[in-house]
Symmetry: none
Subunit: 191 residues, 4 copies
DNA sequence: CATGAATGAGACTTCATTCAT
DNA sequence: CATGAATGAAGTCTCATTCAT
């Protein structure tokens, strides 16, 4: 990390980057445009992020961490297994719908060659709790006997798809959050 | 008469582009590199595609059309409804696993700002038959009462996810083709 | 000169070049555009003119020769000295107004680095008669004692300027042909 | 504070462009060559001029403004009408002879398709005073009753021609400055 | 000879990054 | 640290010319 002076500026740059990536796509996102949108000089951006690639990686991390926080820190341990599953699902979908830009920026970042594999891994660390929880559900016979990663994949794929559907069709999030969960549950729950 | 434009060269360029996009990512894919890999001069690329963006759009179209052809032209009309659903699924997943490069290139193309909305739409035309079929299944009470687009979304999301899983985990496609379909069917079939 | 087959095609190319040079300017005039406008294939242009530069030089020559022909071959030897001077002037101005495109193309060609000095000289040969005539007028005391080239320069400058004025102001050529000649005569005639 | 944009560099670029345009012609003038001759990096040229075309237009403007300044700011209001006319003439011709490069560059710029009509117009604004003065001379009966624009056209055509003659024949400017003015005066003055 | 696909040098311009102020 | 002018490598695309058909 570069010499950091103002966390506020760092966040402004990340936020500006998010917006421009969504509007223009990552390859067409110029550091100059990010700087301008963040209200800092072109050179200042490089005080906070050594390179554009570092900015991309940091942005990825920050968004993933935010999502993890939303899903996990709000989880109530007193919930039943299915209720917790539903909790994770709802938080994911709602976050995506409410943070449209961050979600779309993620879509860009995930296919970027600039994204380092180690950062990708690091970004998954906060989700370990979800993975553990799913593993528990499988062990408990609540979910089908499948690899944890596959179940997580189904979970994420359905969530992403549902977010996209809600945003594109401009339907109410509540309805498809419910419907989507029903499909997901039917898919993965042991009968 | 002068030399005639060769479809062979056009395809060589598209194939070369696919490979390089997968290796380097779309933004880092240089027209010079594509031309060289296709075995033509740099200028020749622009004889076949006016701009790099047009090449990108044509590549998107060609891959989508190939997938549609694989799914649809092989479908047997004598199949039962569920069997046809399974047929579509298997063809999709197998095509993705066998055409790893094209699948990964698509992932890049789909988030590209160069991809024109009209081309995106055009690429969906050949899939109309699948959509009609799904609508029929819903009407027949075989599938849950959901919007056709949502079911198609679930179908595609699960298929893409399964392809990725097979490729990343290097497991046998047959197993997850089967497993994946079971999940999908449990998710969307009316009980 | 290249292998010539059809004089008709050669002239079509020169005519097409004239038009496009006027519309787009010489640097923006593409050989492909000339060929298309002339109704021949791109390669055919190079059968008639080895290079674009040769085409430019030939075009310059052909226009200058046409102007010379118009001025000189129509001159009546029975005319008085002043009348002949006026004849040359009128023919020049009228030709320019009636052959707007050729005149404007000349303006482009004359400042082109592609125009060879030897061709420039060669283009002046047909005008020798005018120069001789002017020399005679000076010797005869009709015109001021000035270098022939300077008088010719004044003649050409005034003619070009008058042509431009008529074309830009869209006034009648007859009026300024007359007015212009009066100015020219007052300028160069010995009082 | 960062480095400040230097007028010096801007002028160096314009001067370098002038020289290369004269040597090579406008179409063969490369931005890389201009930058090198100006002693700046290739990219720097585009800090001062967004495009090559803008550079061309700015150069045209700057030369025209310099000529206007030379002609007008040195004019003495106590001069008689004819003397002022002579003053304008002499300044024009001398400027052209002394600033050979700028004069030749202008010849290239004037026929360039890159030159915007609005810039052409803007370049004429500083010459309004000359036009007004000529109008006054006509009204006062000193000059023939002709449109102001036509008289200005004759003036410019004769001046340009005289400059060219002096430069090509390598004769003394003083002589033809005088001779030229006499011709011009005989041409436009009322007898 | 006529055609137009093929060529590749080279043009203009962009943009991440540096560094003088 | 903040600024934004300066940099120059590198990218896309053009176009005069060649040459297979």
């Amino acid at each position: 990390m570069a010499r950091v002076r103002s966390e506020e500026k760092r966040l402004a740059i990340l936020a500006a980057a998010t917006g421009i990536i969504v509007e223009a796509g990552l390859p067409a996102t110029r550091t100059a445009a990010i700087a301008k949108a963040a209200g800092v000089a072109e050179g200042t951006l490089f005080v906070y992020f050594k390179t554009k690639d570092e900015l991309v990686n940091q942005l990825y991390l920050s968004i993933k961490q935010e999502l993890a926080a939303v899903m996990i820190t709000t989880a109530d341990n007193s919930l039943s297994m299915e209720a917790k599953f539903r909790h994770y699902w709802c938080k994911y979908v709602c976050w995506g719908v409410e943070n449209h830009s961050k979600k779309l920026a993620m879509d860009q970042l995930m296919v970027s060659a600039a994204l380092l594999p180690e950062v990708k891994e690091q970004a998954n660390v906060p989700f370990a709790e979800v993975a553990n929880y799913v593993a528990g559900c499988i062990e408990a016979g609540l979910l089908k006997s499948l690899p944890v990663d596959y179940v997580l994949g189904v979970f994420a794929a359905m969530a992403e798809m549902t977010i996209n559907y809600v945003l594109q069709q401009k339907v109410a999030v509540e309805e498809y959050q419910q419907t989507g969960f029903d499909l997901l549950w039917d898919a993965v729950a042991k009968r």
